[in-house]
Symmetry: C2
Subunit: 262 residues, 2 copies
DNA sequence: AATATCTCCATTGTATACGCTTTATGCCTG
DNA sequence: CAGGCATAAAGCGTATACAATGGAGATATT
């Protein structure tokens, strides 16, 4: 068994925090980095959280990959206590699955979850479009265009990880423009899970959003046409969903007869 | 300062778990309750979580109430480690607020959060009605009627806490009938937060849902009229929201002058 | 030879101890 | 008499240690 992925494809972390400040010598006993007052205590946890979250969203950590606590604590240089907190948070966002005595692993979404997530996105993201079209400003449009362009660029350069994350970020940003923080956060979580779903059910070579869909969507929003934006978003999401090859691989007892006996 | 509520209005807990198994003598040193194999380890945490969550939803713990870790660990007989995990989970559901070095307290929703939450409920709960109307069965209807009846009963008996929880439970159950677990969970969270919002902005004597609204809603669902159910739900939620007296009380320095000097 | 069982190890669950930050009270000073 | 500072206490953040459980491998038995 365990044809799963290896244990730790986690590359240290490409910290996007402003302070690189070598990580591993924190464990050396003394504490050389008492910068401000406490400062990086909570920020460090948040950075680690984003690090793992990004790795999952970008498919550097694939569904089913196990996340052992002391391996993570080794990599990030904090003790298991902090790691557990982070894993628990990721579990609540359903990016990792916490099996009671078995530890954490990257969630492998089921087909039904996939359906639910895209149904939810249909309802919420589409429902948000009119309000977004109403509230969007020129600055927002410029920023969205920039994101879309960077996404296209990454896609063309073959940087799948980056493209996936930018695509999710685009949808999240869009939702945030509605001004409703609660719904925006919900959309953000749905986008993360969508990324996971793409990792499992996505056909390779065709990752999520079409190259120019986002640009077209921006155009509708720019002209304040909320209804067309809504319709387009609906079509957009349907396109993504229908591109999935949901085969619901039989988890339990994988039909050895059918597999081997033909 | 600290004209807040006292420290611990937590009455031990009216455990709804099947095993009462006295709680407080766990701290007595020995561990007399090693029942099955591990059994109550995780279940116990879940019970504590529900205990606190219920207390918040039922307004036995009011917004702003501080939740000190060792006080809770004393009450429930588990160490701070477990309490922290639970508090973190509650924080992620936005029932409690975790201030970095200050500990946990019951969240006091802002006016904007209230608006966002009800806007989200409008979008999701109403959007779910057609599907619910399509999938509802006779058994579901009977169960919903029972819940509504129990709610009315509690309301009439003056048991506010029970009525509030039953009302939220009704909406949650309804959402679950849609078959979409993701959206159902979102609705559940919105309902919890709504309860909190009612605690802060609700005019007393008029808590949330009207007595007979739920019964009427059931009727529409029973006849499979998703659109009317949707419209009714929309009106229902609007009624609740407009019953709030959102005054955005000045949080800081609770106006001691106005309070004591008249 | 295959399966069941036993044992050991890897890994998580929980508690406790320690340090740091914040807060409150008392004292000193202007 | 009022306001600021210092000291003490209390509570949170983190790490480490210990216990317990589940799994994998080895061995014995049928």
């Amino acid at each position: 068994m365990s044809s799963r992925c290896g244990v730790l494809p986690i590359m240290t972390e490409r910290n996007q925090a402003p302070s690189p400040s070598l990580v591993q010598d924190d464990k050396a006993g003394e504490r050389p980095k008492r910068r401000g007052k406490n400062g990086d205590g909570a920020e460090r946890h948040d950075a680690i959280y984003r690090s793992i979250s990004d790795a999952i969203i970008e498919h550097r950590l694939k569904p089913g990959a196990r996340l052992r606590e002391d391996a993570l604590s080794d990599v990030f240089g904090v003790s298991r206590t902090g790691i557990r907190k982070i894993l628990q948070r990721l579990a609540l966002e359903q990016l990792v699955t916490l099996t009671p005595r078995r530890g954490a692993s990257v969630t492998r979404p089921t087909a039904e979850e996939a359906k639910d997530v895209f149904e939810a996105r249909q309802m919420v993201e589409c429902g948000l479009m009119p309000e977004v079209a109403r509230r969007i400003t020129d600055i927002d449009i410029r920023e969205l265009r920039d994101m879309a362009s960077r996404e296209r660029q990454a896609l063309r350069a073959g940087e799948q990880s980056t493209a996936i994350k930018l695509s999710a970020a685009f949808h999240e940003r869009l939702a945030k423009l509605s001004g409703n923080a609660t719904l925006a956060e919900f959309v953000a979580r749905l986008c993360s899970r969508s990324s996971l779903i793409l990792a499992v059910y996505g056909s390779s070579g065709h990752l999520g959003c079409e190259s120019h869909d986002h640009d077209e969507l921006i155009r509708f929003l720019e002209e304040g046409n909320g209804e067309r934006a809504k319709a387009f978003m609906s079509r957009h999401l349907k396109t993504i969903e229908s591109s999935l090859s949901i085969v619901e691989e039989a988890d339990e007892v994988p039909d050895l007869h059918r597999i081997f006996m033909g």
